[in-house]
Point group: C2
Chain length 684, copies 2
């Protein structure tokens, strides 16, 4: 047990009676610490304060403030719930357990925290109650609100959540704008924190003295996603994604909000290695999930982004039986489990963007023999990957969802990529009150519910989900391990047609921002390095391989065309060999926006894989191979930038070479500007 | 051989004839690259250009500019030597050898570079000649000018060296001011590079994208030290420390200038691990130097800084026979080789600062029986460390130098601490032309010569030198291994009486600035953590121990009073145990001004030692122990900050504990604000 200077007041049933005994705050102006809790290793300390009945919290790390006094509470439709509060009771507990991921960046995750629950109650008026739960780890913390069952409040209509984050160390921020039309698909901006207007989470901060902080949330279930608006200085306030009806969240009590999270580390890599978000989610709700298969896949996809083929039917239709067969053959020949086919179903021929009511998810276009292709794939050990582009017509999709998933289940399609491409960043739903359809944000309470519905329906049929244009990841893969991957950031397709394409720093930024939330289906591996109309992709060849290790996803695409892989057999070999499910993950080195080097151990062999990518600057990065098993010699297959490699002038300078190494060795990575390096280590 | 696209023109004797053949630059405005050289691993590339006869150089790293076009040349008394130049010839060679340090941070040093020598000559006028020599390593480069023997120039009076460093990446700089009175003893300033006025070297730069550069010089012999003045933007120009006579340097030809050096790394630690400065110095000139003994020492010293005792004679005189005997006893009991005694000789009783003509270096004060003490120490295996405070009266000191060193040699005093405390940062010398004495900077050509004279005279008597208020280090310890250590920065004594004392970031800054030049006698180990009049020292207890590993010196003082060590036996044990001479050094982690973790292997055992220090912020730093021998189990004796340790409020929170570890383990360091951690690893 941690040495917490807290007293348990009274058991739950007597909470209301307790107010008189321990809940009266002294009648002076300064806030009073009413409860506090330290992390197990005494690194972090959180204090809950009351200032004349108004609750706030503070976070210290090793004795220094990280989050200054920051408000807690709500603006409810029936009045503010952040005033005249007193402590009814408080409880603490310590937890130290270890759980196993069915798939992931590491097999075992330690969950080691101290918890403080503070029961607050209004001293007058409706005497409403609100609990705050803190879980404090050495590498971060989460806190959530609990609306307990209570006579005075049956339903909460939340107009605003008042949670604040007043960051003390002067910091630089990496962030993307919230409340904008292109749902998360922006280049990350690097600005002083005090210049951020309204941002999505995760937002990543680095102080001038090297303290790294990521603010995010965990377990976003039946609630609105949290945006962060800067109020003044470095003070951010939660701004919940609004619902079409005007409120932010509407819930029947009792319920818990998502966890508000702070990951805190002295190294950029510490944020990536943290398991805070997963730990704060509920354990697996699906039972045996051995049917969830981490895998690499090919796709009838890049050719459409190149404008060589089309989603729409007609002479350039990509999703034909014959073309798909070609992909299946290539997948089988090279050991890929899946083939994604987009444009396989009716609905693509008109202007479907933001207008998906024409999609039929239960039958293919006439030139796509899904029955035959599934059978053909099955004989070769290749599974079709399903595709459900909704065009943001949510009810239309939900109406067909059961039948659509039944079709896939019958055909052995055990993973589906969903899509939510809108024309203004908002989806469309039927108006339950009648009248014109309602428009909802991708990350409001409605879509939080929709995504989980799809995941649950898919799970019932042993199908995994890979959502594109999704709601942000908050670690729900722990509870729903069939929610394998998603997009939710500017992906590889921007390199086909984006203005500008993704600059090299973007993929480095992703590791330290978007990917802190969870896996991303970035769709790497464009070895041809060219997009639409000859647009050059800002990458060296070796870098495309390194992305498989640096950008984690349990579903990892080899996104280029088979004919392009045939032209780059040397490089393609790494894509064939690289694992997708891991026993362990180590961030060996890295700085936000500059570069990152990650090593991961294959879950199904003794192989290790290393990936390193840089921004627009070349780097020389000595890397200790201490992650390898001591005493074992390994063959290192090195795929690196050749001399003079440069994403602008010489992207195909590339070397594949092998060396014998051990855990005591140091490997000197030399990355060209926009370059990368990928290594496979196999025990000899 | 590297693939250099250079041609050797003609051998030396025919240089003059060669001008017509290969030296005529085309008659257009743009500069022309006339020669270039790459580092062995093709990381760095240096180009020499001529622009209408005016020479400049550029440095690229992995294809990107680090130093933009920067001028080369001189303002000589008899006219500028930077115009109308043509290439007479050029030569290249590759060197890859390894040499052994008699003592140092590591035993073996690899010297692997490509060299380019360009012979330039004026096309008209006096047809003076000037060579530029570049040595390019993967982790940096050096270049120097060579004034070859030539008929038109017998002696060079250098009024200005015109060398420029136009740093391309927008950078932050850590620097101390040059041309100021307190010779190097300043807190390091952190400013944008484009706000630096006039700075000493080494100056350390970090770009926004993480490129680290240190500008310094190597082998400063018979020349003036280089200061750097910012001309505009990020362009720095050499400004040589001026001589009293008005010129900067006066030399008879032929001669070489010191090397102008650039260390370049993607990590702060890469600067520290670089051996560039040593590699550019000449090999050992002294032959067998087994008489040079890395050692720890105590001193009759801190008590004077505390004002408890005095350098001057009288009732509080520190350097008495009885007091020194006490130190010798303590040194013998705890395994220290040396005892420094300051104030042992006549001259301290008046105002000696900047006025050292009263010092007598050949006899002790009457209350200090140096003969008896030497003999007493010898019986106990303890050597007196000599002390020569000059009070900046250089000729006065030189007059006695031989006799003073003879005395020490006879008494077995095999190391001497010299001192140059002036009242305005300038020393005094006799005017060779008669008249009032001349005032010289600590780092002008005169003092460069003086220091080397002392070192050579000492070497002839097998005595080592530890210079305080010295000229800056430029790696001459390679050529003169008896020049063991020096000060040249704000040392521990500022924690006794400095306003302000050294803030915690200062010692971190030292590692990445001052110590890039060479060892520093910082005099750590003040376990009492209190200075004069109760001034609190900005440090935790564990940090004082960590300084022995982080701040390298082959002569390492245990600077506190014996009675204070008796009060902190637990901590003192590390000071007793820590090594001072190393087989290997690894910077495990660190950022300029923030924190640093270094591991070093003892040269005389299989032990490793680790030290980590932070600035005013606490840190949690996971450290891989991969530097340990694989397969060997070690006992780790850990000296760390206790829970809640903080240099402001709780500096004595301290824990000593032992664990068993191996090379596959990770140690999580937890440093309090202003804290540190020290670890000894001993094979089981």
């Amino acid at each position: 047990m941690p040495s917490l200077f807290l007293s348990r007041c009274l058991p739950g049933a007597l909470l209301a009676l307790c107010a008189a005994a321990c809940g009266i705050a002294p009648a002076h102006a300064d806030p009073v610490t009413v409860a506090s809790v330290e992390s197990p290793g005494k690194v972090l300390r959180v204090a809950l304060e009351l200032d004349g009945g108004q609750p706030s919290y503070r976070v210290e790390r090793l004795g220094e403030p990280v989050v200054g006094r920051s408000r807690l509470g709500f603006q409810l439709r029936d009045g503010r719930l952040d005033r005249d509060l007193a402590v009814l009771a408080q409880e603490t507990r310590s937890v130290d357990d270890t759980w196993e991921q069915p798939w992931g960046e590491r097999r075992f995750i330690r969950n080691h925290y101290n918890e403080l629950v503070v029961h607050l109650g209004e001293r007058g008026g409706a005497r409403r109650r609100l609990d705050v739960v803190f879980r404090v780890y050495d590498d971060g913390l989460g806190f959530r609100y609990r609306f307990p069952e209570q006579p005075g409040l049956r339903e909460a209509i939340i107009d605003d959540e008042l949670t604040e984050f007043d960051i003390v160390p002067e910091s630089t921020a990496w962030w993307i704008p919230a409340g904008e039309p292109i749902h998360y698909e922006y280049l990350y901006r690097r600005t002083p924190l005090d210049e951020v207007p309204l941002a999505h989470t995760p937002i990543t901060l680095r102080s001038h003295d090297g303290l790294h902080v990521s603010i995010h949330e965990a377990a976003l279930v039946d609630y609105a996603g949290m945006w962060l608006r800067r109020i003044d200085g470095q003070r951010l306030r939660a701004q919940l994604s609004p619902a079409a009806e005007g409120w932010k969240v509407r819930r029947t009590l009792p319920f818990d909000t998502p966890w508000r999270t702070l990951q805190i580390s002295d190294h950029a890599g510490g944020l990536v290695e943290s398991s805070l978000i997963l730990n704060l989610n509920e354990p697996n709700k699906l039972g045996d999930v051995s049917w969830v298969k981490p895998a690499k896949y090919l796709g009838v996809w890049w050719s459409m982004h190149l404008n060589q083929e089309t989603w729409a039917t007609g002479p350039k239709h990509a999703a034909t039986t014959r073309n798909t067969q070609r992909y299946i053959d290539f997948a089988a020949a090279h050991g890929f489990r899946g083939v994604l086919v987009e444009g396989w179903n009716p609905g693509w021929d008109g202007d479907w963007v933001g207008n998906g009511n024409g999609f039929d998810f239960t039958r293919p276009t006439p030139d796509f023999d899904i029955e035959a292709l599934s059978a053909y794939g099955a004989r070769k050990g290749v599974h079709l990957l399903g595709h459900h582009e909704t065009g943001c017509a949510i009810d239309h999709y939900e109406d067909q969802l059961g039948a659509a998933l039944d079709l896939y289940a019958r055909l052995g399609v055990d993973a589906v990529k969903t899509g939510y491409v809108c024309d203004d960043g908002q989806v469309e739903r039927r108006n339950p009150a009648g009248g014109p359809p309602l428009r909802e944000w991708h990350d409001g309470q409605f879509m939080a519910g929709h995504h989980l519905k799809v995941v649950e329906e898919a799970a019932a049929r042993h199908i995994a989900v890979n959502a594109h244009e999704p709601i942000k990841d908050t670690g729900l893969r722990r509870s729903y391990p069939n929610w394998m991957s998603r997009e939710g950031a500017r992906g590889m397709e921007y390199n086909a047609w984006g203005q500008p394409p993704n600059p090299p720093e973007h993929e480095v930024n992703l590791v330290f921002t978007r990917l802190l939330a969870g896996p991303m289906d970035y769709t790497p591996g464009i070895v041809s390095l060219v997009g639409r109309n000859g647009q050059k992709i800002p990458s060296t060849l070796a870098r495309q391989l390194a992305l498989y290790v640096t950008l984690y996803s349990p579903l990892q695409m080899a996104a280029d065309l088979p004919e392009h892989y045939e032209q780059h057999r040397d490089a393609f070999r790494f894509i064939e060999d690289v694992a997708v499910d891991w026993d362990d993950t180590r961030v060996l080195d890295g700085e936000v926006g500059d570069y990152v080097t990650i090593a991961r151990k294959d879950r199904h062999s003794r192989d290790w894989f290393l990936g390193s990518i840089t921004d627009e600057h070349g780097r020389v990065l000595p890397v200790s191979l201490s992650f390898l098993e001591p005493g074992v010699r390994y063959r290192a297959e090195i795929y690196r930038d050749g001399d003079g490699a440069d994403f602008r002038t010489n992207p195909f300078a590339f070397v594949r070479e092998t060396r014998e190494v051990g855990s005591g060795d140091t490997l000197e990575l030399k990355l060209g500007p926009g370059g990368g390096e990928a290594v496979r280590f196999t025990p000899l």
